[in-house]
Amino acid sequence: MAIDTQTLKSLELFSELDSEELERTAKLIHPMRVMEGEVLALRREPAQMFYMIMKGNFMVSFKEGKAFTLHQRGDIMGWSTIVTPFRYTGTIVALTDGEVLAINGDEFKVLIQGDASIGEKIMNRINPIIAERVPYFSREAREARKELLEA
């Protein structure tokens, strides 16, 4: 089931996209129901799916027992799908039943890399989120991410 462009526009990540860009993006997005305790991603595993929260509460946990929780509509998870080395840095688990919008990582990469305008608008939104979450990673990963962000 495809998602409508108005819903996409209401999400911060896609708020800058114009109608044509939203149409293209919407084709890649799949709404997905999740259940309490469901694991959406595992740390160190290849990052295959990118998620946006529509409803529900989630926990992202890292090495050394660190974690944060996400509760807001539009919060993103699994940005490692578009950042090297394309492996999840944390484990994502649903704390409650909910709903997410899922995008296949390869298709998302093609969209961002294939259209400079879409890529810039989306990465402008994702980069501050990555920077905000950097302190949760291990030192090695933090340094690697820092180099990537500065590059």
Binding site: G37, K66, A67, F68, T69, T91, A94, L95, T96
Partner: protein
């Protein structure tokens, strides 16, 4: 001399009684040993798992003596009991793991409720602190 007379003359009854007692005592000891075998195996398993966890660097927290009564409805109280056994600030995934180990009902959503109600708060470094009353 034959029959009962011979048995009595050569302490046959006493020997029989001793024989029966020895056999029964042996069987009793054997059955008791077998009935307690699971404790020995559990001890060995625990020892093995302890050494594995030590090797992985994880700190073991004993929650085996925490009894969560079925009629205890105060989620906060249940979680506080576990949090008290952990270092402060504590790890949220570890709390989740321990609450599952204790057999708490719906640990994921309960944890979310505790965070939502402000009883558990992030410390900004990736760990969490109990912010509720000491005796919820």
């Amino acid at each position: 001399m034959t029959g009962m007379e011979a048995i009595s003359a050569h302490n046959g009854w006493a020997i029989s009684a001793i024989g029966v007692t020895i056999v029964f005592t042996g069987l009793t000891v054997l059955s008791l040993t077998i009935s307690q075998l699971h404790k020995v195996l559990a001890f060995m398993e625990r020892k093995k798992s302890d050494s594995q966890k030590r090797a992985e660097g994880a700190k073991e927290i004993d929650v085996s003596d925490i009894i969560i009564p079925g009629d205890m409805k105060e989620t906060a109280r249940e979680y506080k009991m576990i949090i008290d056994r952990m270092d402060a600030p504590f790890s949220l995934p570890r709390l989740l793991e321990l609450s599952e180990k204790c057999g708490l009902n719906r640990p994921y959503s309960n944890l979310n409720d505790l965070i939502g109600s402000g009883l558990i708060e992030p410390d900004g470094e990736g760990y969490y602190r109990w912010k509720g009353p000491d005796n919820p």
